[in-house]
């Protein structure tokens, strides 16, 4: 995929506060990239610099190979969707969507036709003459979306566009946006702090922490192969177990836990033997049984609590001094507290992470 947007060693200070630090990121044409991170990690700031609302303190932003630092916002040709929708309250839905086309001085007939098409795309044709204040939150967001797409911008930027919607509507819109992206093939940079949203929608996810990118990769990569402790903990739930590397064999390492048990685990980065590390084990990859099975990794544990949560069974375990959590499918049998069980998982289901 050809690289379309490039953040080249971008740094941004607000006064003495460093919000984005020496950041490098490339985004391909037609790609859907999510910027995911906790509050205050600099996602919005990066997006605002891309849109031209803010200037980087140092570094270049390249679009299609040319630096756009000095291009004013209105000439950047990027559609922006805000969390607060930012619809023009004094214009009707149709006028809102027509606005970017008027700015580009298209003919009346063409504007009418494209507005109709854009509203049709988000199923809002019936609302052309309404004011934004007469629409529901979800409808307003769809208007904002069609307004950002109607002029076929080179990039669409979305800053937590679904943050103000309730859960059900949000999930519906996630699918709608993904669908639009597939159909139009437009490049989308999507900011969110909701990890499931990022995993659902994106081609690639960039995980932010304190103004830096901790990891960038496909949803599967960031979930299954977390590169850092932060990523492992931020995305989904995980068991973090301390240990020391005993041996490294290619893509696998043997780690000795404090309890003395040995675990064979896949390795993301590079580790050396003797190094203290963390193991990340996803709770849903853990199997429980009362007999020691075939699995390569098997820990002796005792059930301390077990909670039925509808779609899964959440079991708390204790291995020596180490608490563990397992999520079992609902077909699984119950484990009353006090039961001695074996927690088993394959080498590929856990990861060694350098601290």
């Amino acid at each position: 995929m050809a690289e379309f947007i490039r953040f080249d060693r971008i740094t941004k200070f607000y006064g003495p506060l460093c919000v984005v630090e020496n950041l490098a990121l490339g985004i391909g044409k037609g790609e859907f990239v999510s910027l995911l991170g906790p509050s205050g990690s600099g996602k919005t700031t990066l997006l605002m610099m891309l849109a031209g609302f803010e200037q980087p303190t140092s570094g270049n932003i390249l679009l299609d190979g040319t630096a756009i630092n000095d291009v004013p916002t209105h000439k950047r040709d990027m559609g922006v969707v805000f969390q607060s929708y930012a619809l023009f309250p004094h214009m009707s839905v149709g006028e809102n969507v027509a606005f970017p086309l008027q700015m580009r001085r298209l003919g009346k007939a063409e504007i009418a036709e494209r507005v109709a098409r854009a509203l049709d795309m988000v199923q809002l044709s019936a609302f052309v003459d309404r004011r934004p204040s007469q629409l529901s939150g979800g409808q307003q967001q769809r208007v904002a979306l069609s307004r950002a797409l109607v002029f076929e911008p080179r990039v669409v930027l979305m800053d937590e566009p679904l943050g103000a919607l309730d859960k059900q509507l949000r999930e519906q819109m996630q699918l709608d946006i993904r669908d639009l992206h597939r159909r139009l093939g437009v490049t989308i940079v999507f900011v969110t702090h909701d990890q499931s949203e990022a995993l659902t929608m994106s081609d690639r996810v960039a995980v932010f922490n304190k103004g830096k990118i901790e990891q960038i990769g496909t949803p599967r990569q960031v979930y299954d192969e977390p590169a850092t402790r932060f990523v492992a903990e931020f995305i989904g739930e995980t068991n973090l177990v301390e240990g020391v590397v005993e041996a490294v064999q290619g893509q696998e390492a043997t780690v000795r836990l404090r309890s003395g048990a040995h675990i064979v685990s896949a390795v993301s980065g590079s580790v050396a033997s003797g190094q203290p590390v963390f193991l990340s084990i996803r709770p849903e990859r853990v199997d429980l049984s009362e007999t020691r099975g075939e699995a390569r990794n098997c820990l002796e544990t005792e059930v301390t609590d077990s909670v039925y949560q509808g779609d899964h069974l959440r079991v708390q375990l204790q291995n020596a001094a180490q608490p563990l959590i397992a999520k079992l499918g609902r077909r699984s049998r119950e484990f009353p507290p006090g039961t001695k069980v074996y927690a088993a998982f394959s080498a590929g289901d856990c990861r060694v992470i350098a601290p």
Partner: protein, 260 residues
């Protein structure tokens, strides 16, 4: 129960105290008598006729309209521009500038009048429309500033950013987004400026010559020197104008509210 009754009585009496004087003056505008007392012997429109034909009153109405219009234009333009300038919070001295803009509301009119007379005399602007308009603008401008700042504060800045990202240059953003959204505030500021000018007496006493007597000024001296029911007729006009202006402001405010 007695508590409730007492509350009711107190509220009613206070409402009476607040509103009755304004209502009591209205019928006297239609008296046929030359004295301003009840009972009214018979009804007539002679005092309205007087208002529109007697030279002093006619000129006063004319002057009030000229000066009010001039003040409204000047105050609205200056006040709106300044309020827009105050939006940029990068300026560290915004707070004190804002205070300065609002201070003319606080300073006693007589004090300002004395200073204004000394100053305008220096410029040769006493006894001129320009001088009166300038003086009125000083006291009218705070109302515009308060009103426009209020309207601007209600604009979501991201709406303007969105317009930029959709391809609008800063000038276009202003013309198509900021100004229309601030318009209700600008209009109600203009209305308040006009009302302020219409009602201003003290500064007018100091800076206006006999040729710039405004309606309010004329009412003032007529109460002082030869009170006649023409006052009641003028008051009637004022109250009608007030109600219209009040309705206009309410309308602008609700326009503003509806957009949110």
């Amino acid at each position: 129960m007695p508590m409730k009754l007492a509350k009711f009585a107190f509220a009613s009496l206070t409402i009476l105290f607040l509103v009755a004087p304004l209502i009591a003056i209205l019928p006297l505008a239609f008296t046929s008598s030359v004295i301003l007392t009840y009972p009214i012997p018979s009804w007539s429109l002679r005092w309205f006729e007087e208002l529109f034909t007697a030279d002093a009153w006619r000129r006063a109405i004319f002057n009030s309209l000229i000066i009010g219009t001039g003040t409204t234009l000047l105050a609205t333009v200056l006040g709106t521009a300044a309020s827009l300038g105050l939006r940029n919070r990068l300026l560290f001295f915004c707070g004190s500038i804002r205070t300065l803009f609002l201070l003319p509301m606080v300073v006693p009119a007589v004090v300002l009048g004395v200073g204004m007379q000394v100053l305008l005399a220096g410029f040769g602007l006493t006894n001129s429309y320009a001088g009166v308009i300038i003086a009125h603008t000083v006291v009218a401008v705070p109302f515009v500033v308060v009103s426009v700042i209020g309207a601007l504060a209600g604009i979501d800045e991201r709406v303007e950013l969105a317009a930029q990202s959709l391809g609008a240059s800063p000038a276009t953003v202003f013309r198509r987004v900021t100004l229309p959204l601030a318009m209700p505030g600008v209009l109600s500021g203009a209305v308040l400026a006009f009302a302020t000018s219409l009602d201003e007496v003290v500064l007018t006493l100091f800076v206006a010559g006999p040729n710039q007597r405004t309606l309010a000024r004329q009412m003032f001296s007529s109460i002082r020197e030869n009170i006649s029911p023409a006052i009641a007729a003028a008051a009637f006009l004022f109250i009608v104008a007030t109600i219209l202006i009040g309705l206009a402001v309410v309308l602008f405010r609700s326009m503003l509210a509806k957009r949110r």
